[in-house]
Amino acid sequence: MKMNKVYILGLALLSLLFSSCEDWLDMPSESKYDSSSVFESVGRAEMAVMACYTNTFNRELYYQLGMGTDECMSTEGDTNSKNQMANYVYTTSNIPTSTYNALYAGIEYANVCIKKLTAMKTGSSEADQQKIDYLLGESYAVRGMNYLNIVRFFGDVPYPTKPVEDMDTFTSSRVPRDTIYDGIIKDLQAATELLPWLDEGVYTTPERFTKNAAYGILARTALYAAGYSLRFDLNTYDPASVRLAQREDQNRIAELYQIASNACYQIIQHGQNHLVENYEDVFRDLMNGRYNDESILELGQYGANVNDYSIGYTNGIYAHPNCMYQKAKPAMQAIPSYYFDFEEGDVRRDVTICNYDISSDNIRKLSTFSGLTIGKFRVDWTSELGVKVNKRDINWPVLRYSDVLLMYAEAENEINGAPSNEAVEALKEVRMRAFNNDEAKVGTIPTAYSNFKDAIIKERKLELGFETLRRTDLIRWGIHYETLTGAKQKVIDIANHTGNYTNVDLYRAYLPVAATDFEDALVAVDYISYKTELSETEIADLEAQGYVVLDMFSADDLSNGKAYTPDQVWIESLFRGLEKEKVELLPLNQKMIDVNPGLEGQQHPLY
């Protein structure tokens, strides 16, 4: 008996020991939360929602995926993967993946936020409920916008709408893009219901989603959803099924244009947003963190830790590392024809395209035609260097009011088969600013459907250049191949001084002036045009007067020292992979398939 008691007591002690071990071994991280502890308070939940924003954009979106248009080209060599992306040389290994990965991460965060915030709402105080609604609105908006940015490049993609922790498997397959677009529209509509207007003062800057921004992205989505895209049979993946087409349901297309129009109208009607008077101020404000009524949604870039988009560094002007602004050395720049696409008097040209480089001794050196750089994000317009040369505190402009006006005009034209008065007015408003309100230069706005549409297509290029939408805009209009083929011909014509370009400047003479300050007032370097060859004595004369004479077709350029003659490899390289009804949709990178068995056998049929 006694032995038994000891035995039992021993066993009990032993089990106690083991269970207390279990407790002792429970050592959750003391410096990290997990998804359950994050959503214990609204304050922490808000921090989780704000984390979504850094995963709504990626440098690739304006870089690899922003080039290859009738505005923007790559100056890298032809073996460089960015050059290959810009010129439609797709392989299943050079397709960029970090945008895809980053946006899906943002979607997962949003999915978690939506699930947890919805659960939090019940039982919360009224004030908290209001706050939770705003946060939910932002989460829906982020999820919607992220899907838009994936779908416009990759088409039919996996479409998770709940957090990973609620899914049975990690793998997922392609979902028809029309389904996803409809989901995005629902998300953004939900967001417009939940979010406050910017002028309600809940959010004071355009760096978070407001009703204004949600309506704008909703309109953008609706236009993409209604437009053309490269489609193929998701059952057979038959190469013969590949075609550039709109969705089949014509009624839904009409509905989508209506949704776009309504959304834009909501913003216009609300009256808070306006065009900034001077086009250049849109970007001078952006360079310096000033907010204005035109900017509806920006992604914040500031300080050491939220500054990864390299804006102004990768997509800016050329500044020599030893100059006062320090290094900016973009490998993307304006395709020469873009410069000539602007009409006389359009102030946007010299803002959008910078005609100078900054040398090591701060001299503004005039650019050749093959060396024109992106002028909207120029480092000499900032008030200070910022954290580092590639972290210059420049926000990314996601949505501007002029885009809303142009979307409105476009949607109205589609709905009515002709531009309404409002549509004409909207387009005119954008053009009036471009020509400093000089009505004579603005010209007449066409009133027939297709002329008006062409005008919109052109205007979006001139107004929104280098703001990343062009590549997919051309696809949704179904004119991608034709436009780029035309643009390449223009580039060749310029080299040959033929066609519309018989009268291009062969030489320009300018006075080399050094920059002295940040927030430089200069927009473009003044020059004297010479349409004919200059003799050596003429050049010597000009040089004696202090001018520098630049052969506009020479390799004498700081940013892109390549001669501009028709036999140059860089011209031959332009759009060399372009094929109609093939490159309008990115193939999946093999890595995406390798890690996701659900995508096995679902590659773009032509790759």
């Binding site: 990290k32 990690f170 590392p321």
Partner: protein, 1073 residues
């Protein structure tokens, strides 16, 4: 005074001896005392040789014997000691010191939670004694055992002072997780034990290699266990040991670079092809307007630069002599029941490069005390402080030293190049220019790492009965590491960052461990049984705080006053904890000294797994048969020991990050209204609540055999380790929002042989020669990965990839196969003088074919892909396994000679069959940027510029004539800018045979004879001289083939700007008094 007293005593003794011999009769009475050096030996048999005349020593070791004459010889013998024979001569007092008979089999080996005689071992255990270590003057014990223990591969990552050292036992068992063995120091876990314990303090190192030995350490045992036992106080009188050495180090070898003329020609060609001949002429001379500028260029270069010595930047930057100083003082002493030991060590090492060095001070104290008959106390404490300056990879400094212009041409004098930084002007020529003056840059940056390590431990041993012992032991370890980085503002980075900047990273860690064991040892008849049961708890907590400060207005106080910083650029902190709770037991059974059986089991609970997966159980069993004890072996006098061993067991590995079972939300930032606001976001790794232990099933078969009275000893081992459930950071569909999850999905096998041969080639009174040879063959194989479907993954390191593929060994380089250059035969000459690539010749996918020139790099196409015109193309799909970092075998050979007082040790180590990815060549061959030099091989490049015209030629015939070497598949490419791609691609061109035979050290020592040192009241005095890293026989073209940029098993064998290994001369002394 004391000295004088001793002298007087000696003289008295001499007179006494002299007197006795005068008065001796023919029969001689000899008396004396027999000791083992310190203590008397009772019962020693004393025999007059050839007679029956004999006696025994008494309890005090004293004896008295009467022998026939002066010619008589007396033989002293005792079990366990070597016999000695002494001629009586005129001595009447003969004091004898008997040496203990050394039998390897009786050596005591430390096994987990106990000791064993070597003869009783059933597992694979190798030992090195402190005595063997102390003869080699190196700064860490890891270096001292390099090449000396079969199955233990030790690779010092570089020649940098305080460089990291990779220690891998039997190939390691983990793919992506920790593969370093578990270090147990005096019973307690300590990371990097071989680096953190001073070599002078080490009594023995025992390496447990197979599961039957390591299973007692359960979850932490699968990568092998290295048990380090530190020296304790000895019984006997107080003894002081002093060891010191001084070492002088020089750069071992240099990289071969272009000479002056070659360099200037290289620049001429490079800048001509780049259309920068203007800036070339500006620096290297010549008048562009002169009619013979081009045609006379090569002649002028030869006249001006031929025979002109280049600036030897390697010499300038690390060509000096560095010194290393080491002092060690060790005091032991005892009283009746107490022994103590106190040891102090100082190491001061300069690096070859200025501002690199290593400084270490350590202090260790140990106390053993018998409280009473049954209770013993032991106590130990240690402190170590190190300061590492510079360190790690040479990175930028090597690049800057190698690529630096070797002449400034007409523009700069050599002095200007060496003493100033010309990068600004070079950047005006090409803004990408990234080579700064290495002397100035090195001087501008101060990089220091301070480590402080404190340990204390106490144990009580209680004899509960004669057979049963209880031991309780506890330890505490505290470590602080501080990394300081300071840039005084002179580097380009500082200029870009707004002036001087720096960072200070502090981390702190403490661990404690409590171990309780109960040991029962019992013998009855022929059975010996030993049972151990125990319990252990281990806890570890670490914290870190990392801050970077930017925009200091001036150098000022540096990091000593960070409030001067313009901004805190980044700030981070973290905290993590983990714990293990364990129970374990072991049974040893010995029947008749012939049959041995060991069984162990351990259960471990780890906080690194989620509830339900925390516990793992690791059993093992092993047995041995000592055949030489069998009666039938008695006749085989040739073999005096023969033992077969076999063991099987399971061990685990949980050397992974904490909390991998949960998805962590960490702090992040978003920017709103020009402010950074904090956010919370998960990382890219999703938690896996199902995580489990990595487990290794290990089989070991061993054979120990000794011949000729143990003059030849051979140990052979075969092992087969299969590791399952390996944790791999698996890529998951990124559409989940995450990129990775740790999953138990890998399996690898390590299989190998080890042979250790010790021979006593010559052993007599004056001369001995022993040889120790060991060789290990290990082959790893990936058995499975990623479940059933995908069976490989690729791990990137810098510009080289590694593939881990089912059926292949670990550490396989993955990249392109070089196919030589495009030859002139690959082109058609066009009517207009240009050339174009022939159809059917391969090119890079997406490349514009008209831009390809002869002399461009060409890769082998493997996949058979073609472009739209049907020409073969290569892309990333054409990458293949291009080499393996895994050696076929490694080992070492030690020959030791003694002659009278001299000792000579020659140590060689070798590694065969491993390949090295020479990232230095990849980076330094180029072409890269104007005004940067290149490796010597580039002198034999494919040339596009015709020296007679000084211009690029498009004439294929002429190009063929200029480049007779073009068909060689190893031919060097041209300076055409398209070849820049070769410096970023992982190309088999850069894979080199890393096999080597290193004549590592030669040590010659002389121990002063006792009759001389006695007068100095010294027990032992030895002087020695060592030559280190004397010569390495290798085909490797870099500094040294023993190199590794990382400690990961996956990414071995990369030479990424490793700090060059020095040759050194060491002089030292060992003194005991």
């Amino acid at each position: 005074m004391k000295k004088n007293h001793a002298v007087v005593r000696s003289i008295t003794l001499l007179i006494l001896l002299f007197g006795i011999s005068i008065y001796a009769s023919s029969q001689i009475n000899v008396t004396g005392k027999v000791t083992d050096g310190t203590d008397p030996i009772p019962g020693v048999t004393i025999l007059e040789e050839g007679t029956m005349n004999g006696t025994l020593t008494d309890i005090n070791g004293k004896y008295s014997i009467t022998v026939a004459s002066k010619e008589a010889k007396i033989v002293f013998s005792s079990i366990g000691f070597d016999s000695q024979t002494v001629l009586v001569g005129s001595n009447t007092t003969i004091n004898i010191t008997l040496k203990e008979e050394i039998s390897e089999l009786d050596e005591v080996v430390v096994i987990g939670y106990g000791t064993s005689k070597k003869r009783d071992l059933t597992g694979a255990v190798s030992s090195v004694k402190g005595g063997e270590l102390a003869t080699v003057p190196v700064t860490t014990a890891a270096q001292a055992i390099t090449g000396k223990i079969a199955g233990v591969n030790v690779v010092t990552q570089s020649g940098a002072p305080g460089a990291d050292i990779n220690v891998v036992v039997r190939g390691g068992t983990s793919i992506t997780q920790g593969s370093s063995p578990l270090y147990i120091v005096d019973g307690f876990q300590m990371d990097d034990g071989l680096k953190n314990i001073d070599i002078n303090d080490i009594e023995s190192i025992d390496v447990m290699k197979d599961a039957s030995a390591t299973a007692i350490y359960g979850a932490r045992g699968s990568n092998g266990v290295i048990i380090i036992t530190t020296k304790s106080g000895k019984k006997g009188k107080t003894e002081v040991n002093y060891n010191a050495y001084f070492s002088f180090e020089k750069l071992g070898s240099k990289l071969d670079l272009l000479n002056t003329q070659e360099y200037v020609e290289y620049q001429y060609e490079f800048q001509t092809l780049n259309g920068q001949i203007n800036s070339w002429a500006n620096i290297y001379g010549g008048d562009l307007n002169s009619s013979d500028f081009y045609t006379g260029a090569y002649d002028r270069i030869e006249q001006q630069y031929g025979g002109v010595a280049p600036i030897d930047w390697q010499d300038v930057v690390f060509g000096g002599t560095a010194t290393l100083t080491n002092h060690n003082v060790n005091i032991t002493g005892s009283s009746d029941k107490t022994q103590y030991m106190l040891s102090y060590n100082y190491t001061g090492q300069e690096g070859l490069l200025d501002k690199s060095g290593y400084n270490r001070n350590s202090l260790r104290a140990k106390l053993n005390h018998e409280l009473n008959d049954r209770i013993r106390l032991s106590f130990g404490t240690s402190f170590m402080g190190t300061e590492l300056d510079g360190g790690g990879s040479l990175g930028g400094t090597l690049k800057m030293s190698i690529l630096q212009p070797v002449t400034g041409g007409a523009r700069y004098t050599n002095d200007e190049l060496i003493n100033s930084d010309i990068s600004n002007e070079m950047q005006d020529i090409d803004s990408q220019y990234d080579i700064y003056n290495p002397l100035i840059m090195n001087d501008a940056v101060t990089k220091e790492k301070y480590t402080r390590l404190f340990t204390v431990n106490t144990a009580f041993d209680v004899d509960l009965t004669d057979d049963l012992t209880f031991r309780t032991a506890g330890s505490y370890l505290w470590q602080q590491v501080r990394n300081d980085y300071w840039d005084d503002g002179r580097t380009k980075e500082a200029q870009n960052n707004g002036g001087p900047f720096g960072s200070r990273d502090n981390s702190e860690k403490f661990t404690w461990q409590v171990t309780n064991t109960l040991n029962w040892a019992h013998e009855f008849n022929a059975h010996k049984v030993n049972v151990l049961i125990g319990q252990e708890t281990y806890y570890s907590e670490s914290m870190n705080l990392n801050n970077t400060y930017y925009e200091f207005p001036d150098n000022n106080f540096g990091l000593s006053d960070v409030s001067m910083a313009g901004q805190v650029f980044s700030y981070k902190s973290g905290k993590s904890t983990n714990g293990i709770v364990s129970v374990f037991g072991r049974l040893n059974y010995n029947l008749n000294e012939k049959y041995l059986l060991t069984g162990t089991i351990r259960g471990d609970g780890s906080s690194k797994f989620s509830k339900g997966n925390q516990w793992g159980y690791f059993p093992s069993v092993s047995g041995a048969w000592r055949a030489s004890e069998e009666p039938f072996m008695d006749n085989l006098s040739l073999i005096n020991n023969l033992k077969f061993r076999v063991g099987y067991g399971t061990t685990g590995n949980c050397d992974i990050s904490n909390n991998m079972y949960a998805t962590d939300y960490q702090s992040g930032y978003y920017a709103i209204d020009k402010k950074q606001v904090s956010t919370l976001k998960p990382g890219n790794t999703v938690g896996n609540p199902d995580l489990q232990w990595e487990t290794t099933k290990s089989t070991n078969v061993g054979l120990d055999v000794s011949f000729f009275d143990s003059r030849i000893n051979l140990t052979s081992e075969f092992y087969n380790n299969v590791s399952d459930n390996l944790l791999i950071k698996n890529s998951i569909p990124t559409s989940t929002g995450y990129s990775y999850q740790f999953q138990n999905i890998g399996s690898i096998r390590n299989r190998g042989f080890e042979f250790v041969l010790n021979t006593y080639n010559v052993r007599n009174n004056k001369f001995t020669w022993t040889t120790d040879f060991n060789i290990s063959f290990n082959k790893s194989k990936v058995l499975n990965i990623y479940g059933e479907d995908d069976d490989y993954f690729i791990q990137n390191y810098g510009r080289i990839d590694f593939i881990v593929e089912k059926g292949q060994p670990l550490g396989q380089f993955y990249g392109y196969e070089y196919d030589g250059v495009y030859t002139t035969d690959d082109f058609n000459q066009n009517a207009d003088g240009t050339y174009s690539l022939k159809d059917g010749v391969a090119s890079l996918k997406g490349k514009v074919r008209s831009s390809i020139k002869p002399g461009d790099v060409k890769y082998i196409t493997k996949e058979g892909n073609t472009d739209d015109d049907g020409n073969p193309v290569w892309s990333t799909d054409d990458r293949r396994i291009i080499g393996s970092a895994e050696p076929d075998f490694t080992g070492g050979l030690v020959n030791t000679f003694t002659y009278k007082g001299f000792d000579l040790g020659i140590f060689m180590s070798f590694s065969y069959g491993n390949e090295v990815f020479n990232m230095n060549s990849q980076r330094f061959i180029g072409p890269y940027l104007p005004n940067q030099t290149s490796m010597k091989v580039m002198a034999d490049r494919f040339v596009l510029v015709d020296p007679t015209t000084g211009q690029e030629t498009n004439d294929l015939q002429r190009l063929a004539a200029l480049n007779p070497q073009q068909y060689n598949k190893d031919a060097m490419w041209s300076l055409h800018s398209d070849n820049k791609i070769a410096i970023t691609d992982a190309l088999d061109y850069y894979i080199e045979d890393g096999s080597f035979l290193r004549l590592s050290t030669i040590t010659l020592g002389y121990t002063l004879p006792s009759h001389i040192i006695k007068r100095m009241h010294v027990n032992k005095l030895r002087f020695y001289c060592t030559l280190n890293n004397i010569h390495t026989f290798t085909n490797y073209s870099g500094y040294d083939p023993e190199v590794s940029a990382t400690s990961s098993l996956l990414t071995r064998g990369v030479d990424n700007s490793a700090y060059p290994r020095a040759k050194s001369v060491v002089v030292g002394l060992n003194l005991t008094f």
